[in-house]
Amino acid sequence: MSIAEDGLSPSDFAATAERAVAACASLDVAARGKRLAGDGLLGVLAAPEVGGLGLPLAFAVPVVAAAEAELLAFPLMESMLVARHAAVETVVNGSAVATIAWNGKVDATSRGSAIELYGVVGAVPAAEAADLLLIRIDQDRVALVDMRTTGVALEGAPGIDLTVPSHVARLDGVTIEPEALLATGSWQALQADACLLRAAAIMGGAERCLALASEHAVQRRQFGHALCYNQAIRHALARHKLVLEGIRHSLARCLALGPNASDIQRKAVFLAAAAGGVGIAEGALQVFGAMGFTWGMPLHRHIRRIRSLQAQGSEQGLAALGRQLIAEVPAALHG
């Protein structure tokens, strides 16, 4: 598909995503998958051969951002990435729900022509509702496992995300065929995309938190005037806006660089979003005061969700990024 010929732009997908996500509110996870697939959203990144649209990553950004703004209870990013990297038609058409184990890897042992997997992996979003699990085997091998396979067991993990709760998956002699292995390099490619989509998701949630806080600051009256008349509140919200726009523009730049974006640049975008998004969401709660701390307000759900997205990329912390940068820079040549 030629994007230019078809006149598509990423922003076209934002409105579709908002409608689809709103329609998902009353559905269960499996039905949400079908609804999202019906609007073509799960296959935005997938190849046309499996029913996808084969579009660049920039087209998935408004979709995951809209989903996070509305706290969509579905492993959307994971489904999009499995559809793209594992080319699974059933995920694209919504008949199967896919997820990814973001933390840890399992050991693989050959048994004849088959492979047996052993180990424990974590940060598996919506594992209870998933049909397929993408799992890292070693440094850069990835396998797609049917969750109903003998030897797959889920354990509850004490996470804080209420929207897309994560689990730990234990694999004890899970047998897969070699065809279930993805091409070498898949994990790195998957992570490269995930860095940016996770940043987009955090941006969507943070933007909603800032909108809620700004609206509250305008509507809420204290000491005889609107809360936003106070400079402390104005400046706090302005700082959150500064951070939000920083996330947006660094993400846009990285997407524009496309394959020329380096690994360290992608990680920087994620880390900007992770630190900034948390600050915006937690800051919004502060603007609301005690009301923000209540169960009924959605802010805590966003905070939980953004923190979970941050934790999914915990291997890419600032210290790791700093060390990567330090390793890249040669010692001074000029005294």
Binding site: R253, A256, A319, L321, R323, A331
Partner: protein
């Protein structure tokens, strides 16, 4: 060079800088020495002759007629080397764009080529003792006197006035109560009778800051920029774009500084160990993230301007992010380098010289060109649209 592609243009800029930027002007070299004014003027003249000053200005006024995107490419390459800041940045990045927008044809022909050729260095006469961030309160008066104007008043924090030929002066033609209305811009020759410039030593030891006194200074009508009472309003529109696009090289210079710091530390085993410490590695990582965010702001702004999209008050976002992030970096650089082992390695000495000065100078970055608090106010007002109390 006009028909070069983006990649070819980048190579041309990089190649020219590599061949022509003398080592004694590079702050990351041992042979660097604080340059004299005549050396800086000569360097900037060479930059202009090579096509790398006035990049997007019209050719008829001494510019090179390139696109904003090409200006960005050149800025990226200029930022990537440790070359001196322009001594005529007010002329090139503030006065020049304002003159292009609101100046007469005669003014464009008189002022613009002279700025690029470094024949006239400009300073900015906006702040006053009673009107720093709040320009609506400025008191310097411009009164009609026949065909000319008479200027009386005082400006302060006027960087570089002692070395400048002209001042972009903001003065009041109406009543003080008119606040932002009744303000006009002038291109005042600093050699005029009645102009007195005093330098003020700043905390970094420089004597760039000045106060400028105007005592019954006569200014030709030909040096008034834009119509009286309208000049400032017109200039504000220009400034909104300029704030977002001036000194575009800063993100890449910032990266040059970060890489210089790390490369110098790697010549000292004690500092190399320090860099691996999780605390410092994380702070260096955070600096890199800040730089990538700044690049994102700059590049997307250029793309939006190229696409005729509104950029609103994006300049405030860029200025605020850069100034605070750069200040954090300068503090970190000082902290790391102060733990160097003795005797100092040559590369560490070079880095200490550069970053000690940067640390001190960076304290001004959240103050000049609109303080942090002013930028936050602009973002609250114009980006978030929060209503203000009366």
């Amino acid at each position: 060079m006009q028909s070069l592609s983006g990649d070819a243009y980048r190579s041309a800029v990089r190649g020219w800088l590599g061949e022509n930027l003398p080592a004694h002007l590079r702050a990351d070299r041992a042979s660097y020495a604080a340059p004299r004014l005549d050396q800086l003027v000569a360097w900037e003249q060479a930059l202009h002759r090579a096509g790398f000053a006035g990049i997007a200005w019209s050719r008829q006024y001494g510019g090179h007629g390139r696109t904003l995107r090409e200006h960005l490419i050149a800025s990226q390459e200029i930022g990537a080397v440790a070359m001196p800041e322009s001594v005529n940045s007010i002329g090139k990045e503030l006065a020049g764009p304002i003159i292009q927008a609101i100046g007469s044809e005669d003014q464009k022909r008189r002022f613009l080529p002279a700025i690029l050729q470094m024949a006239e260095i400009w300073c900015q006469g906006f702040s006053e003792p009673e009107a720093g961030s709040d320009l609506a309160g400025l008191r310097t008066r411009a009164a009609r006197d026949g065909d000319a104007w008479r200027i009386n008043g005082q400006k302060i924090w006027t960087s570089g006035a002692a070395r400048s030929h002209r001042c972009l002066l903001l003065a009041r033609t109406g009543k003080l109560e008119d606040r932002h209305r009744g303000l006009a811009l002038f291109a005042v020759p600093l050699g005029s009778a009645g102009v007195r410039v005093n330098t003020i030593k700043s905390m970094d030891g420089r004597e760039s800051f000045c106060e400028v006194f105007f005592e019954n200074v006569e200014v030709d009508e030909a040096d008034a920029l834009g119509a009286p009472d309208e000049g400032w309003a017109a200039a504000i529109k220009v400034l909104a774009i300029e704030r977002a696009t001036n000194r575009m090289y800063r993100a890449w210079r910032f990266e040059n500084e970060l890489r210089h710091l790390i490369s110098a530390c790697k010549t000292d085993p004690a500092l190399e160990d320090l860099l691996q410490d999780g605390h410092y590695a994380a702070r260096l990582g955070a600096v890199f993230v800040d730089i990538e965010v700044l690049k994102g702001h700059v590049e997307t702004t250029v793309e939006d301007l190229m696409g005729d999209l509104p950029i609103g008050a994006r300049g405030s976002l860029i200025k605020l992010h850069w100034s605070e992030a750069h200040q954090r970096f300068a503090t970190l650089a000082w902290e790391i380098l102060s733990q160097a082992s003795l005797p100092l390695r040559p590369a560490v000495k070079v880095a200490q010289r550069r970053f000690n000065e940067l640390y001190l100078h960076s304290r001004a970055e959240t103050i000049y060109a609109g303080t942090t608090e002013i930028q936050l106010g602009i973002i609250a007002d114009r980006v978030l649209g929060l209503p203000r109390g009366k």
